[in-house]
């Protein structure tokens, strides 16, 4: 930027007065810049604060149990024995199942909205799907607890047990009575929650496919599905994967919806129908009542593990999407 104050090409009283007037802005001007820069640095401070405070809070636990904390599943506050295996297992498995369900649905909706849906309906349906993302997670939780879980318990789970329960390998996944709440219920609620994230990112990247490419494929005699499968999806692969990872990050960290419907049992059961727990559900349920440094520390250590896992997933997602933006910009 040109330094206005030193710009004295004209001479005379008026220009001197003008330069003086401008000089008055010099200090406020740099103060404003410093202010904005400090505010930007606050973002880094927050991240640093989160990491440092979690590490500090979790320290007593890692000092007591070492890395056994990650590998054992006993969770006994009375005897002060803590292991993170059950919540980690619950978090990872429920999120992965949610992803497996939401991925085809989310991409399917995006395909429908970009290729098949009549123009006047595109906006309303798109908005409706995005409303799913706007509903607070506690609402999913309360709905899951009072409507969805009883429905699954009465109608879906007995059917699953009947159909798969006797089979040799898969049977173990559907063992036990239909509790209603449990790993599978949590995963299903999660899949509805992350659906809109997958859809909206997929739709955005689908729209970046050059019409020329699609038209060439149609010109060769491809059907709509073949164009989607062999032109649109390969072209947008990176973006779609980025969106899916972003959704996975959401699912891993989701708290309230899961807390209501997972059953909160510290056990690695193997069956998808059994009650389980996740990292976030454990923290949400037990933190306010936790007494003793070790108990609180164990919960904070869980938080640290969760933050670490989601950070990796989200960072991966962002890097993929960033690469895409660069390609689009070039």
């Amino acid at each position: 930027m040109v330094d206005i104050t030193s710009d004295r090409i004209e001479t005379g009283d008026r220009s001197v007065a003008r330069a003086k007037a401008l000089a008055r802005y010099r200090i406020p001007d740099s103060i404003f810049e410093v202010l904005t820069r400090s505010a930007a640095i606050v973002v880094l401070v927050i991240l640093g604060g989160v990491i440092l405070s979690l590490i500090r809070g979790a320290l007593p636990v890692f000092e007591t149990f070492g890395f056994d904390f990650l590998g054992t599943s006993s969770w006994n506050p009375a005897k002060e024995r803590f292991g993170a295996l059950a919540p980690i297992y619950g978090t990872v498995i429920s999120s992965l199942i949610a992803l497996v369900i939401a991925m085809p649905l989310g991409i399917g909706i995006a395909i429908f909205l970009t290729e098949l849906c009549p123009m006047p309906l595109r906006r309303p349906i798109g908005i409706a799907i995005e409303l799913l993302a706007g509903i607070p997670s506690i609402i999913y939780g309360i709905w899951g607890l009072f409507f969805f879980a009883p429905f699954l318990q009465a109608n879906v789970q007995p059917l699953l047990i009947e159909t798969f329960g006797e089979l040799p390998l898969i049977g173990a996944l559907f063992a036990g009575p239909p509790y209603g709440v449990g790993l599978l219920t949590a995963a299903l609620v999660l899949s509805i929650m992350i659906l809109p994230f997958i859809t909206s990112i997929s739709r955005d990247v689908f729209e970046t496919v050059p019409p020329m490419l699609k038209e060439s494929a149609y010109g060769l005699g491809c059907t709509t599905w073949e164009v989607v499968r062999h032109v649109v999806l390969p072209y947008t692969r990176v973006g779609v994967i980025g969106g899916i990872m972003l959704a996975l990050g959401r699912a891993l960290g989701e708290t309230m919806a899961v807390t209501f419907v997972i059953g909160n049992v510290h056990k690695v059961a193997g069956s998808l129908l059994a009650p389980a727990t996740t990292i976030s559900a454990t923290i949400a349920n037990e933190f306010a009542e936790a007494s003793g440094d070790l108990y609180v520390g164990a919960l904070i250590a869980l938080g640290l593990i969760l933050f670490f896992i989601t950070f990796l997933v989200l960072a991966g997602a962002r890097l993929l999407l960033l690469r895409l933006e660069k390609r689009a910009g070039a």
């Binding site: 820069r37 505010a39 799913l132």
Partner: protein
């Protein structure tokens, strides 16, 4: 050249397979819409049944008796306002630096990346952070801690929208202002902000929508309070936390109140986001 019978048959098969797969995409959409309808339907039918005047005028009842949601409503509004008051200026200033000053610097790239991660970071972890920062040292849960936890969620949302909106302002507008001899900070505040104001308001609205339903970060910062409280240094009730407590309880009156609260929150959030969307589509 005419197609042979075999080629035609093959093409028909491909077309049929394609139609089936495209029909599946319609099915996926129907699943999504059905889920939305089921959730909203349950919410409206259960929520309206629990909604009455007492919900807004009475405080939360002890188990087994009737009451309202006055204290959690006031607590939620209070904490949301403070969170926005803290988070908005920080988010706007930081977004300004990213768009106007630091735009292409390495630091800006790093901040942008970290901010995007904070945008979807688990909110319960942010609750733990504020607990370690503001609750543990004092030994007391407080509305202020809850508000700060919420403001940590506000900052990334406002930052992101501010930066995006400022980038949409045409460079020529800035150049015209510079040519008139305006200092840089004035160009930003008087010209760029003015041009981007609608978009920036949208960002704040979205942030409010986001935090109105947040439960996890309040569970161990503001905690809960059965009584009316406007003292910021005391534990304070909020709608989401009360819904959590009441819905998980075995008492019928509490569950009814939880549904009424759930309806209130959802419609506030959806109204805010629809309003924000209307604002932003008007500018485009």
């Amino acid at each position: 050249m005419a197609l042979t019978e075999a080629q035609l048959a093959k093409y028909r098969r491909r077309a049929r397979g394609g139609r089936i797969r495209m029909a599946l995409s319609l099915g996926a959409t129907l699943v999504g819409l059905t889920a939305l309808a089921l959730i909203l339907g349950a919410l409206v039918s259960k929520g309206i049944a629990g909604l009455n005047l007492a919900v807004f005028t009475e405080t939360t009842p002890p188990p087994g008796s009737t009451g309202g949601l006055l204290n959690p409503i006031v607590g939620s509004v209070l904490m949301t306002l403070i969170a926005v008051a803290i988070g908005t200026p920080l988010g706007i200033l930081a977004g300004t630096w990213l768009a106007e000053y630091g735009a292409h610097s390495k630091l800006a790239g790093v901040i942008r990346f970290i901010n995007d991660i904070l945008l979807s970071a688990p909110s319960i972890v942010i609750g733990l952070f504020i607990y370690e920062l503001m609750v543990r040292p004092v030994g007391r849960f407080s509305a202020l801690a809850g508000a700060v936890a919420l403001s940590v969620i506000v900052i990334p949302v406002v930052l992101r929208t501010t930066e995006d909106m400022l980038r949409l302002v045409p460079t020529q507008l800035r150049e015209a202002a510079f040519a008139l001899g305006m200092p840089r900070s004035l160009v930003i505040r008087r010209v760029v902000y003015k041009a981007a104001s609608t978009g920036m308001v949208t960002g704040v609205l979205l942030a409010v929508a986001r935090i109105s339903g947040e439960t996890a970060p309040l569970l161990f910062t503001a905690l809960n309070n059965q009584f009316f409280n406007a003292d910021l240094t005391q534990p304070t009730a909020s709608l989401p936390v009360v819904i959590f407590q009441f819905a998980m309880s075995p008492y019928k009156q509490w569950q009814d109140l939880a549904w009424a609260g759930a309806l209130l929150i959802t419609f506030t959030v959806l109204a805010l986001s629809v309003f924000a969307r209307a604002l932003s589509s008007r500018t485009k």
